[in-house]
């Protein structure tokens, strides 16, 4: 069920990226290679958005580092809960470690590496297929057909929040992070600042655990 939920969210998001990049007159091989090698929706979208404003590659790369800083937390967390996986897997499957694939590992912490790898590969394949569809054929379809599917990813993360925040400290973390993320969006904060709510929420959740254990 998690696999179909992730795929149903990835396909329209990748299609939207393919369509957006194509309308900016970027060469289609660049768009396809970006999906194949970078494989990060937020980073890819920011990159084409910055290119459209005339930003130079150094600026795009700098912003990219900031946008994907959150990924630096996922690996150490997986190491904390699944230290039994061999190191070679970190080099291989680690390249496919997106927000949703990380979510899958956290959602099913006792699941096998094989199942998790299959899901990671399926998600990667879906992202590539969606990008190609976006580049090629999707401009012929009415946009209203796709609009409801744009809610699949936020709905997926809402559902994950509901199931991941099992303890009260988890709700504290989610509540702080969501509140700060809303404030950032209302203040038109840059996507690169996405790391801030995650760090603040995580720390708030951690301190609430400590406060609970002390009292």
């Amino acid at each position: 069920m998690l696999r179909s939920a992730i795929i149903s969210g990835y396909l329209p998001a990748a299609m939207a990226f393919g369509v957006a990049a194509s309308t900016m007159h970027l060469p289609w091989p660049f768009v396809a290679l970006l999906s194949a090698f970078v494989y990060s929706g937020a980073l890819q979208s920011a990159a084409i958005g910055l290119l459209a404003t005339g930003a130079n590659p150094a600026m795009v790369i700098t912003v990219g580092i900031l946008i994907n800083l959150r990924h630096m937390l996922y690996g150490p967390h997986l190491e904390a809960i699944r230290s039994d996986w061999a190191r070679r897997h970190r080099f291989g499957v680690g390249a496919l470690l997106t927000d949703e694939v990380y979510a899958a590992a956290v959602h099913q912490p006792t699941g096998s590496l094989r199942n998790w790898s299959r899901l990671a590969v399926a998600a990667y394949g879906t992202w590539q297929a969606g990008t190609w569809l976006g580049i090629g054929a999707i401009q012929a379809l009415p946009h209203q057909w796709l609009r409801p599917l744009l809610y699949a990813l936020p709905a997926l993360f809402a559902g994950l929040s509901a199931t991941a925040a099992k303890k009260s400290s988890g709700w504290v973390a989610a509540g702080f992070a969501a509140s700060l993320a809303v404030a950032l969006r209302l203040l038109h904060g840059a996507t690169a600042l996405m790391m801030v709510p995650i760090i603040v929420g995580t720390t708030a959740g951690y301190w609430s655990t400590r406060a609970g254990s002390v009292s």
């Binding site: 970190r90 699949a152 709905a155 997926l156 991941a164 973390a173 709510p197 959740g205």
Partner: protein, 96 residues
């Protein structure tokens, strides 16, 4: 493709792979303290809540209904598929 686009592609590929894999490999070489593990255990709910807000198209109107429906369905059923379906259905109905 111009040389500038090739340079950009190489740079983004390097940081994308490096940021995912290197911290994981580094973490596997060191023993993490219990405090750090406890802190890391709160990354998931904070990240999911942040991404939920970041991925909403407008953060107003039916977007809030989508979040409410997905959260309620997720809490009530503990089933991710039901949560996603509820959110998408509310989004489709509200967007008409």
């Amino acid at each position: 493709m111009t040389g500038q686009l090739w340079f950009l592609l190489l740079g983004l590929t390097f940081i994308s792979y490096g940021q995912r894999v290197l911290p994981w490999v580094a973490a596997s070489r060191f023993r993490m303290s219990s405090a750090l593990v406890s802190w890391l255990n709160h990354v998931a709910p904070a990240a999911f809540a942040t991404l939920m807000v970041a991925d909403l198209p407008h953060l107003a109107g039916i977007d809030l209904g989508v979040v409410a429906a997905a959260l309620t369905a997720g809490l009530a059923t503990r089933n991710l598929g039901v949560a996603v379906l509820s959110g998408v259905v509310v989004g489709a109905l509200g967007g008409r």
